[in-house]
């Protein structure tokens, strides 16, 4: 062929290919019902949710397997229950991006879901940016409203007294501990902890592991730092929306942390989350660390387990931890606190928000009512929720249906009752920024430079945040 003609043909082919590529339809999400076959169902509309879980991820070892499995099981049930009305389409989002992406989508006209799984920590940022709908009138009219735990409702209430999220599960912070290492129960005071830790150290066991890295914009603040600081009587704010860190209580907590790190009681994995997120859970799973303070939802993730006595829990789902607790290998305890103080504990709720701009808020409301039913609620609370049911009447229901959860809930309830549980952020409004600043300061003080002046570093952190007020 003549070279010129060949190249012309080449260009033409390229353009044709390009045009074809641009017109090719996007790979559609799995559509259960073909449009032709369900002619009467043309009224059926899509109900779009954002979860951090992905029902199409069937990897049996994915770290989100519990939630993935829950959605896989539940989506067909919902579609069956609302046949001809709603078809549930879930759009998974990376867990550390959900709130940001929702804010961006609402503000900026992106694709907004009808409902998103959310914790109360996002509430103020959502309100400030006009992201979520006011649900007060609707939620108060629902039959299950009076059954909701008042503290859960309070967590969903904005400063204006209106309710902006629907609480389904409550997620306080607790401690998971191996019984073999703490035959006399979890230590009650820092002094007691140091004694036990010294004995464990002699056996080659670290007394504690926790989320100590600065990964995920300072997520460690909510998972451990808050528990420690609050147990020593400290806070992060001055009650007026300013950050206040340099207090005697906070300094005492940090001194203590420095001490136990220097003594070698803290598992080194606690800080390694930078390149490998959540690696601090590993020592707990293998019993190289004796205890693991974290959110109650941790039981979903910390599996499979291998007890110090050699017993293994290998189902690879949330039941491993429940089994270990029922068998008495793991127990749940409150954190310890100095003599005369109640242990502190962070608390929060997880539930749903309906964003502004949702196409089918009615679907979201149908869905919430469905989740609040006796049939569905236990599964959600134990699955994606990972905590106590916000509906008070549901606890016996869950225990009746899942006997294996009974011991877990009893111990967790006792631990929470023995602690003073509050949201970590107090009056701080820019919570993402605050979280990062706090965790960075703590990391600096205990890991980077254990000789640095505590007051100075805390003051600098305060200033950094307060400048933005």
């Amino acid at each position: 062929m003549h070279p010129a003609r060949r190249s012309t043909l080449g260009i033409a082919a390229t353009i044709a290919l390009l045009a074809a590529a641009c017109q090719a339809p996007a790979p559609q999400p799995a559509q259960p019902s073909a449009p032709q076959q369900a002619q009467p169902a043309t009224q059926e509309r899509e109900f779009i949710t954002w979860y951090q879980y992905d029902e199409t991820n069937t990897d049996p070892k994915s770290d989100e397997r519990v939630g993935n499995e829950y959605l896989r099981k539940t989506i067909p049930l919902f579609n069956e229950a609302f046949k001809g009305k709603w078809r549930w389409v879930n759009q998974p989002q990376p867990f550390d991006q959900m709130a940001t992406r929702l804010t961006a989508a609402v503000q900026a006209g992106g694709e907004v879901p009808d409902l998103m799984q959310s914790s109360d920590a996002n509430l103020i940022p959502f309100l400030k940016n006009g992201v979520v709908q006011d649900l007060t009138d609707w939620i108060k009219a629902q039959p299950w409203f009076d059954d909701l735990d008042p503290s859960a409702v309070a967590a969903c209430t904005g400063p204006d007294g209106r309710i902006y999220c629907v609480p389904v599960a409550m997620t306080p912070q607790i401690v998971f501990a191996w019984k073999d290492y703490f035959p006399n129960g979890y230590p009650k005071t820092p002094e007691e902890f140091k004694q036990v830790a010294e004995q464990l150290k002699a056996k080659g066991v670290y007394a504690i592991t926790f989320f100590g890295s600065t990964a995920f914009d300072g997520e460690g603040t909510t998972r451990f730092t808050n528990t420690l600081i609050k147990s020593f009587g400290g806070t992060f704010d001055d009650g007026q929306g300013n950050m206040k860190l340099d207090t005697p209580e906070n300094r005492a907590a940090i001194e203590f942390l420095r001490e136990i790190i220097a003594a070698g009681y803290v598992h080194p994995r606690s800080w390694d989350g930078t390149t490998t997120p959540f690696i601090e859970e590993e020592p707990m799973k293998t019993a190289e660390a004796a205890s693991f303070p974290t959110g109650i939802f941790g039981y979903r993730y910390v599996n499979p387990l291998k007890a110090p006595n050699g017993r293994e829990y290998n189902k690879g789902n949330e039941e491993d931890m429940l089994d270990a607790i029922t068998n008495g290998d793991v127990f749940i305890a409150p954190f310890f606190a100095p003599e005369g103080r109640k242990p502190g504990c962070g608390t929060g709720v997880t539930g749903f928000v309906i964003p502004n701009g949702a196409k089918n808020p009615e679907a979201a409301k149908d869905y919430i009512n469905w989740i609040m039913s006796k049939e569905q609620n236990p599964d959600w609370v134990l699955g994606p929720g990972g905590g106590f049911p916000a509906l008070r009447s549901m606890l016996p229901e869950i225990e009746a249906r899942m006997p294996v959860a009974k011991a877990f809930y009893e111990q967790a309830a006792a631990a929470v009752a023995a602690s003073e549980c509050r949201p970590w952020y107090g009056t701080l409004e820019r919570r993402n920024e605050a979280k990062k600043i706090i965790q960075t300061a703590i990391f600096k003080l205990v890991k980077e430079d254990p000789t640095a002046d505590i007051s100075a570093v805390l003051k600098a952190a305060e200033e950094e945040y307060n400048k933005g007020n």
Binding site: A4, L18, A26, P92, E111
Partner: protein, 286 residues
């Protein structure tokens, strides 16, 4: 140089039990009694299976289909972006490169230097604005608009300047006498471009195409921030998704790395000459 790649390949073929050994073993070839031998080696495809998730599908060509999102959605998307952008860059850079190489017009020099200066403006600092543009376009509800088009446009915008330079320097090497002969034969400039110049400049144009293809394939942050729907996400976005879901499943992450990097590595190995020439042409001479 290849050590990290080799180690990743090795990891991707291990069993989970071998990946989680302490201390780590380079080759999982020890028998339970501690003896070491090639016959004991345990290499498996578990990692790859968990990325691809093949499921039997009687109707399909191979008897199974890959249901892992990475290869059912993300990689095809990435291919679409990379190919469309590269094709557009091929055409636009060809036209612009010809104009710069063959015509002397007012402002030519300034434009050329400006385009070269733009090469250095990173995608990152423009992202805030591009993000807002993506939003406005979505809000505008233009019929037939798809966010993938904007994505391709962004990629083209960022690959074009360098491509123009590469292509121009290739055109510069083609003797003008050939075109002049064509003019005498009654050819118009466009006809000369098509008949004479393009065929001779094909290596340069191909280089622009390939460079753009590889760069777009490997791009992460723009796709991560500008695309909203899961169905249109890129493979690099998919890698990020993947990471938060596989904390200690290193063999799976390694397998995903191998699979996503393989296409461009293979492409590169086959077309290496074009790459080498283009890079030295574009970067040393211009």
């Amino acid at each position: 140089m290849l050590l990290p790649i080799a180690l990743t390949l090795l990891t991707s073929f291990k069993r989970e039990a071998d990946v989680l050994r302490k201390p780590p073993v380079l080759l999982p070839c020890d028998a339970p009694d501690g003896s070491w031998g090639i016959q004991h080696c345990r290499f498996v495809l578990e990692g790859y299976e968990r990325v691809l998730i093949p499921k039997p599908a009687p109707g399909s060509l191979l008897g199974f289909e890959l249901t892992g999102r990475m290869f059912s959605t993300y990689v095809p998307n990435t291919f679409l972006y990379a190919f469309s952008s590269a094709a557009l860059v091929f055409i636009l850079a060809g036209l612009a490169g010809y104009a710069f190489s063959r015509y002397r017009f007012r402002g030519r020099r300034l434009l050329l230097v400006a385009i070269l200066a733009i090469t250095g403006i990173p995608l990152l600092t423009n992202l805030l604005a591009l993000y807002q543009m993506a939003v406005d376009l979505r809000k505008a509800n233009i019929p037939g608009y798809d966010e993938r088009m904007f994505m391709v446009l962004v990629y083209v915008g960022f690959q074009l300047p360098f491509a123009v330079w590469v292509v121009k320097s290739f055109f510069d090497t083609i003797p003008r006498e050939l075109e002049e002969a064509a003019f005498i034969d009654g050819c118009t400039p466009l006809c000369a471009l098509r008949r004479i110049v393009v065929p001779l400049a094909t290596p340069g144009l191909m280089a622009a195409f390939l460079l753009c293809f590889v760069n777009v394939w490997n791009e992460f942050i723009a796709g991560f921030l500008l695309l909203t729907r899961r169905e249109v996400r890129t493979a690099m976005f998919g890698m990020y998704d993947f990471l938060s879901q596989n904390i200690i499943n290193y063999q799976v992450i390694a397998a995903a790395c191998v699979l996503v990097a393989a296409p461009v590595v293979i492409l590169f190995l086959f077309t290496r000459r074009v790459f080498f020439e283009a890079m030295t042409e574009g970067a040393v001479k211009g």
